[in-house]
């Protein structure tokens, strides 16, 4: 396919995705499972892409994603809870230490609807920036470490962060081990799709820039990259900070989706889940991460629900299809992909390559048959 056709194809797919999300909003109520699934999948897609930027494109095996998401989620919640609800949310901490709410400040200037939206976006941004700042500080010591040591150190930082957020002494801000709630959220899918889409587009642009090429060079051969004049520590730090920024924003969106914030869901198992999504999609493919997130969330939240509740594909066997079977099946599929299809769904191909991949796939499927016929 020519370059022009590829661009056209990409544009059509993106427009179709936007149109689909507008349609969903127009026809489905916000409590419909499709709405929930799409919201969760866009959040996962954004975080998976941010992780792929680090693990797939820069070759830094980091497992700190959940920690940065936690920071983003808490920043969003703390800054957006309306002032008059703070007394009930922070009931054990005397109404908390913060007595303003960003969306309310903005709606005072810009009017109710616009102001609230701008305020929510600003709070997301603050979450992202905080995550980026923390990543910068953590990166100073940690990024000198190699592969698996880096993984375990970032994992450790995420756990330390979680302990701090549950600490009672910080309760006036984080509400200790109690939930944060009553903050404003988007109830439609389009804001999620557009937000995540714009963020992912940023990452794609970054990867296609000179910085992106430097990242890939570091991934492929650190020593050679350094010999070519790439400043290793600067580029590694940059990838780490940018990835954490988007993880922070993803965390804020996750908070919107969940409706309440606690430190418990942001355990290392969340990071593992996202890492496995990246692997399913193909390490080094943005499109793969997005597709895998949607597939993963769609099937685990919706399609395979029956595996947990007794009836699946019309087969009624409550003894086998009981609570937890879905995830067991899922993890077996993941192991098969990890062991036998190591390139994942997309390998290192992207959206514009998709038509060519499908065409080649069909040709390959046909080819052995033709050979057999010739043999006869």
């Amino acid at each position: 396919m020519t370059k022009r056709n590829k661009t056209l194809f990409t544009a059509v797919v993106l427009a179709a995705a936007l149109a689909a999300s507008l349609l969903v909003d127009a026809f489905l109520p916000s409590y419909h499972i499709a709405v929930q699934v799409i919201q969760k999948a866009t959040v996962y897609a954004l975080v998976a892409v941010s992780m792929n930027l680090l693990n797939g494109f820069t070759g830094l095996f980091s497992l700190g994603q959940a920690g940065f998401m936690l920071l983003g989620a808490y920043a969003y919640g703390v800054l957006t809870i309306p002032v008059d609800k703070r007394a009930s949310v922070y009931q054990y901490f005397d109404g908390g230490a913060i007595h303003f709410s960003i969306p309310e400040i903005f709606s005072g200037v810009l009017g109710e609807t616009v102001g609230t939206t701008v305020g929510m976006l600003a709070a997301l941004l603050v979450g992202g920036l905080l995550a980026a700042l923390l990543a910068y500080l953590i990166g100073l010591p940690v990024l000198r470490l190699k592969s698996d040591y880096l993984a375990i150190a970032t994992l450790g930082f995420a756990e330390i962060l979680r302990a701090f957020f549950q600490w009672n002494a910080l309760g006036p801000i984080t509400n200790g081990s109690n939930l944060l709630k009553s903050y404003p959220t988007f109830s439609h899918v389009t804001p999620y799709v557009v937000l995540a889409g714009v963020m992912i587009a940023f990452i794609v642009l970054l990867i296609n820039s000179t910085y992106g090429r430097a990242f890939k060079a570091i991934r492929d051969d650190e020593v050679a990259a350094e010999a070519m004049g790439i400043n290793l520590s600067r580029h590694k730090r940059m990838a780490f900070v940018i990835s954490s920024f988007f993880a922070g924003i993803g965390g804020g969106m996750m908070a919107m989706y969940m409706g309440t914030i606690a430190a418990a869901p942001f355990k290392s198992s969340l990071t593992y889940e996202i890492l496995l999504i990246v692997v399913i999609g193909g390490i080094g493919s943005i499109t793969g991460s997005v597709i895998a997130s949607f597939l993963y969330i769609f099937s685990s939240e919706w399609l395979l629900r029956g595996l947990d509740s007794g009836t699946f594909l019309g087969i009624n066997a409550p003894d086998i299809f009981k609570n937890g079977f879905r995830m067991a099946v899922f993890s077996v599929i993941i192991m098969v992909i990890v062991l036998f299809f190591r390139r994942g769904l997309m390998g290192d191909k992207e959206l514009p390559d998709l038509p060519d991949m499908i065409r080649n796939g069909i040709r390959k499927l046909r080819a052995p048959r033709r050979r057999k016929e010739a043999g006869k």
């Binding site: 698996d148 450790g156 330390i160 302990a163 198992s269 496995l276 993890s331 990890v338």
Partner: protein, 292 residues
């Protein structure tokens, strides 16, 4: 002193249990350069098997069965999930390990229904209470350090004075050359996993005697802490792992004693990061230089 004493005693006991897990990490890392993320879950499975077998069978059948089941599990994990990736990049191996951990936890969730399984029939004798320096404690707290040290001495003998031990040392030094010298590398790796799982099973028997129940994530934290202990002591070094584990166990319990329970886990990771940054080879590790 009287207030701190119970925490000290507990610390030594917990340290011993971490040591038994940490050896599994350090042995595997020494040979495969792999953080076996599934090791903590193997430990958890040993605990679950203990709960199930001790309620159904007499103790003298149940306990050997726990050891055998865990060893088989460790062996199977290595054969199925790590052996096919021998030539793959290290990142794939680590992802596979994370996948196995995820699989074991989800299977355990399916089997237990997500409910922590109560330890209804604790192992007799070691779960009895005894008086120590005027403090009441379970006998397991005294047994653990002694048993740990005995097992470690046995293991060190095995590694330094037997043919298999020599093969293991050779494989840890240089994987490919060892293979060229006629060492059956797959057998050596299997033995490593068997030893690691066996010690983890012993650790689980001791650890869960002190706990009311076994949940599906019970293995994750002890697993990570044992790994930190292995890094702290210098990964690849058995005495290092043991010393590291005892230090971490003691520090953790002391922090709990001082009233900062929220930070007892965080401390371990903080220690890890400090060690990695200041002395990445740990207390007893050998210095490694990277070749281009």
């Amino acid at each position: 002193m009287q207030e701190i004493l119970p925490y000290l005693i507990n610390g030594v006991s917990v340290g011993g249990q971490y040591a038994l897990i940490a050896i599994g990490y350090t042995l595997v890392y020494g040979i495969l350069r792999l953080i076996n993320f599934a090791h903590g879950d193997v430990f958890m499975v040993a605990g679950l098997v203990m709960v199930y077998t001790t309620t159904a069978l007499p103790m003298y059948v149940a306990l050997p069965l726990v050891l055998i089941a865990t060893v088989v599990l460790g062996f199977v994990i290595e054969r199925v999930a790590y052996k096919p990736l021998r030539t793959a990049p290290r990142m794939s191996l680590m992802i596979s390990a994370i996948g196995v951990s995820y699989l074991i936890q989800n299977l355990a969730f399916y089997i237990t229904g997500g409910v922590p399984q109560p330890v209804t029939v604790p192992i007799p004798w070691i779960s009895e209470n005894v008086l120590l320096f005027g403090q009441s404690t379970k006998r397991v707290t005294l047994v653990t350090p002694v048993l740990t040290i005995l097992l470690v001495v046995g293991l060190v003998y095995l590694i330094n004075h037997t043919r298999m031990g020599m093969a293991m040392r050779a494989a840890a030094k240089d994987f490919e050359t060892a293979q060229l010298m006629g060492i059956k590398i797959n057998a050596v790796i299997s033995v490593t996993f068997v030893i690691g799982s066996f010690l983890a099973a012993v650790g689980a028997l001791l650890y869960f005697t002190n706990y009311p129940s076994v949940g599906i994530t019970s293995g994750a934290m002890p697993g990570l802490k044992a790994f930190v202990a292995a890094v702290f002591g210098g990964i690849g070094s058995i005495p290092g792992a043991v010393v590291g584990a005892f230090i971490i166990g003691l520090c953790e319990e002391l922090i709990k004693g001082l009233g900062y329970t929220t930070f007892s886990d965080a401390f371990t990771f903080a220690l890890l990061i400090v060690v990695l940054c200041v002395r990445p080879t740990g207390l007893f590790g050998e210095k490694v230089t990277d070749k281009v």
